[in-house]
């Protein structure tokens, strides 16, 4: 139930923010880094959706990607390695009214934070997760990450990586309760923005893997894809992405893909070349954990105190006749 008059008032005095109002400081990322494109797209999204900075939250772990909250003039939480998702879930549980975004990298999410990632998908809480996937540990200067392709030479794999890279899309699409999976590339900003907007509007956990260039350590990684538009396959559908006429002219390799078809989504997700870009899977019907658990209920001070005491009492050993000493004398 909403009080109508209030809604009117809020609309009356709607504050309009410019993109710069969401910008905080000059990013410390290298010149040419794909993270800049993601930042610009997200700031654009915040402006266009009129997100109130004090009601918006960016949570991250550790890595280049995870510096993201510093550059947003909203609330942020630069967490610890691999733990961006649990922190974000806690925030959402206590404050379901906030818009929560998570920025995590291929090392942060797919290596040390892998367990949290799997369970966050299963919990399906309403938040937007951006996996900045540059396929390398950049902040610590070029070590192989779980998504580095086989044969990649790095400081930790001087003879080339021995293993196939992990595919975050197929992993995510294999987890129970998955509700939104998309892939974007930082060098097509228009599509990146469209995908981010769709992800934001989805009620549930939206997982967006963004292939992101690292000009410092892997300058040639995506070179072929950037120079041959046929090596990018855009997924379009009336329920997914719709491309502008100009973009359609450049990217002619397109596929009509219904995002509700999870089997085809899994097939598409397994492809590396051409890179699939678009919304692979979308199911708005999956239950959202905080809604199942009626999160965000107001608790009075008395309620918190009673339950907190009860919780501590579980661990208290009460020696005989200790009551008078411990209990405050009236």
């Amino acid at each position: 139930m909403t009080i109508h008059a209030t809604e009117c008032l809020l609309r009356l005095h709607d504050q309009h923010h410019e993109l710069e109002d969401y910008q905080s400081g000059v990013p410390r990322w290298c010149t040419g880094c794909g993270d800049n494109a993601i930042l610009a797209a997200v700031q654009r999204l915040c402006r266009d959706e009129k997100l109130r900075p004090e009601k918006t939250m960016f949570v991250s772990g550790i890595g280049c990607s995870s510096r993201f909250p510093h550059y947003m003039k909203t609330y942020g939480f630069h967490g610890i390695h691999g733990r961006a998702l649990p922190v974000a879930e806690g925030i959402k549980m206590a404050r379901p009214d906030l818009d929560v975004f998570v920025n995590t990298g291929d090392g942060d999410c797919c290596s040390i934070g892998a367990a949290h990632w799997i369970h966050a998908i299963r919990y399906n809480m309403n938040m937007t997760v951006m996996l900045h996937d540059n396929q390398i540990y950049g902040l610590t200067k070029k070590q192989a990450s779980p998504t580095s392709p086989r044969g990649l030479k790095s400081n930790t794999t001087p003879r080339g990586a021995y293993l196939e890279g992990l595919n975050p899309l197929t992993v995510t699409l294999g987890v129970q309760n998955v509700s939104f999976v998309a892939q974007a590339v930082d060098w097509i900003p228009e599509v990146l923005y469209d995908i981010m907007r769709a992800a934001y509007h989805h009620n549930g956990l939206s997982f967006v893997r963004i292939l992101q260039r690292c000009p410092e350590w892997l300058p040639d990684m995506f070179e072929p894809f950037m120079h041959d538009p046929m090596k990018t396959k855009l997924l379009t559908h009336e329920k997914g992405l719709q491309l502008s006429a100009n973009l359609s002219k450049v990217y002619k390799n397109q596929e009509q893909h219904d995002p509700s078809d999870i089997h085809r989504a899994r097939e598409i997700a397994s492809g590396h070349d051409p890179i699939p870009v678009g919304i692979l899977y979308h199911n708005p019907e999956v239950p959202v954990y905080e809604e199942l658990r009626h999160a965000g209920q107001q608790r009075s001070a008395g309620y918190i105190k009673t339950n907190f005491e009860a919780e501590l009492d579980k661990f208290t050993v009460w020696p005989p006749k200790a009551d008078s000493k411990v209990q405050p004398s009236a």
């Binding site: 139930m1 909403t2 009080i3 109508h4 008059a5 209030t6 008032l9 809020l10 005095h13 410019e18 993109l19 010149t31 040419g32 880094c33 794909g34 800049n36 494109a37 930042l39 610009a40 700031q43 654009r44 004090e54 930082d186 060098w187 097509i188 900003p189 228009e190 260039r213 000009p215 950037m226 120079h227 100009n246 107001q298 608790r299 009075s300 001070a301 008395g302 309620y303 000493k325 411990v326 209990q327 405050p328 004398s329």
Partner: protein, 737 residues
Amino acid sequence: MQVELQAHIAFHLTGRMPQGDGDALARSDLQPALLAGYRDLTALRYDFPLVLAAGADKQPVQSLSALFDGALKGIAANGDGERIRKHAGRLEREIRKLIAEGTTGTLSKLCDLATVRIGAKNDESLQKSLDRLRAALKIDGEVIDCDKAMPFRLFQHAWQGLQDQKALKFRAQINTLILKLSDILSADFGHSKEGMSAERLQASIGAAHRDTFDFAAMSRMLTAASVNVPMAESRRQRVRGLLATLRTQRFFPPAIESDKWIGVAEPYSFAFDTCSEAVAAYRERLPKMTELAKAMAIAKLETDGEYSEARHDAFFAQFGDNGLDADDIAAFPDYLVCLRAADFRAAESDLILRAFVSGMPAKLVVLTDDLLEQSPIRDDYLIAGLRSRQLAGTAIGFGASYVLQASASNLFQLREQVLSGLAYRGPALFSVFSGANASHLPAYLAAAAATESRAFPSFTYDPSAGPDWASRFSLSANSQADLDWPSQRLDYEDEEQQRVSETVAFTLVDFAATDPRCAKYFAKVPRAKWTADLLPVSEFLTRERKDLADKVPCLLMVDRDNRLQKVIVNDTLVREARRCVEAWRSLQEFGGIHNSHAARLLEQERKVWAEQAQAAAAAVSQQTSAAAVASPAAVAVPAAVVAAPAAAEAAPEKSPDEPYIETARCTSCNECTQINDKMFGYDANKQAFILNPDAGTYRQLVEAAENCQISIIHPGKPRNPNEPGLDELIKRAEPFL
């Protein structure tokens, strides 16, 4: 003319039977033939009795038989299914008998009683079946039969359920606001001097470690270091005022956690027996309601940190002056008024209609017990359901109120409509016929007969269903709504024990025949005098008057021994039946059945269409004769016209001499802006464009083009011909032109 016929016509016209020519009607003996099968209702399985289910998540009105069927579906699937089914049937029959005897109570109580009465104690298998059945019956609640009190009970129950749901939502919201407002005050206190005093700091730490700290020093340091600006006094006052308003509201019971509040008066009651009481209460509570809605709106802003005195004070000073918003009103309880049509005075009806117009959220249930009233002007005139017709008609006329008319027997069938009427945002009128009048039929049958005979047709008018009559008005709950009178097949056995099948209509006259007060309008005709001149009433009503000179309307009835009888009818009832069918036909038109406007329009369209078709046919025949003379090339013309425009639209090409950036593809990577931020700039979407081509050198343009990761910078031709090293630069720029 035969003597019998003369006597019959005399009765038809005057109401008097010449001596010895016909039997005076011994009333209670006869029933309309179509009702013959329904003498003993307890032996039949039908909608009633109903169970008023307790619990917010359940459908509030359920049918006993459907409940039993549902329970059996789950448990009677195995081998012993047949046995359980039989035993459940016995229990259900016994409950029906108990109800018919006047026993009241909940389903579980009636089940207990019935179990004892059918002797389950001495029959282990019966007891076992009933135990399993009882376990599968997930619903409990009061059981009610179709009697005089039923409609009010049903409406009160359904209304209460909806109010409980509203209360739940409302209280959750109020509770949240109260807690958040209290948090604002306590945070303010925590930052104040008193909040940081040594005593308070001490009190916040457990007794065990109290001696470890110097609270006075702590207080001094905290107070000195505090940069917190105390809350403005006006805000503090406002928050306190809001808290007081929210805590003392009486529209809903107080929220659970705040039960302890002192001085909270009893919550208001919203169920009334008269309109005047309801309207008076509404008027009295309106200012309080406005105040509470306002407090909630302010509190919401306040807790979101959005309240600004400069902006909002003026607005809220006038809040509610023009009445509350429909959404705001909808959150508050509805006023339920249950009254009997017989007690309904003209002044009351005027009052309630005025309240309806002003949008009072009233749910008015008007129960009619007697449909056949004497006309106030002429004694020999009967008027069927005058008052209810009048009220429902006026309420529909307003356009913005929900109107439902139905007999008590149809209420279960219309339960969804009853619920949506009660939940409707605005006034709603429910006009119900109870069937519990002097008639010797059970209330259920009398009510059903009233609907069937069009004396009290069912309809709903739901303004929320759409913008027009087609979506708002529905007659679908009536049987065979497209006919004047519904008709059923009647099978009986004639003197030669042969099966005879006949289609018999159920008319207003049949309904009147169930009422002992109408006995004087009927006369039984001995079998020997059954002639072809006795015409069924339904047929009599459809024939032209001039063909009726030597006909007498008659009804088929059955007596106590289930023998078919014919009964002739006095003209008074026939006249009333004509009026009734007139009223029914105008309802049909509202409901889109045999709609005269539509029929007229259709006729017109048909005519136009026919003319066009004729014209087209004429043109074709002319053309074919013309085509024989001219060449056939003319046919191809339209195709050529369509083909032309497609090529026109093309994007304006950029001049290769001018430098430019494909801005939409820019990834905001800062490569170019770091080379020269006067030359390259970002637009509102943080994507690069050429800010000023003359703010730097051609060399910078070419370098930016080379550095751009996605090659979207096009340097164009050099603007300054004297720039050093131009030849080399032009060569380097070539791939990006």
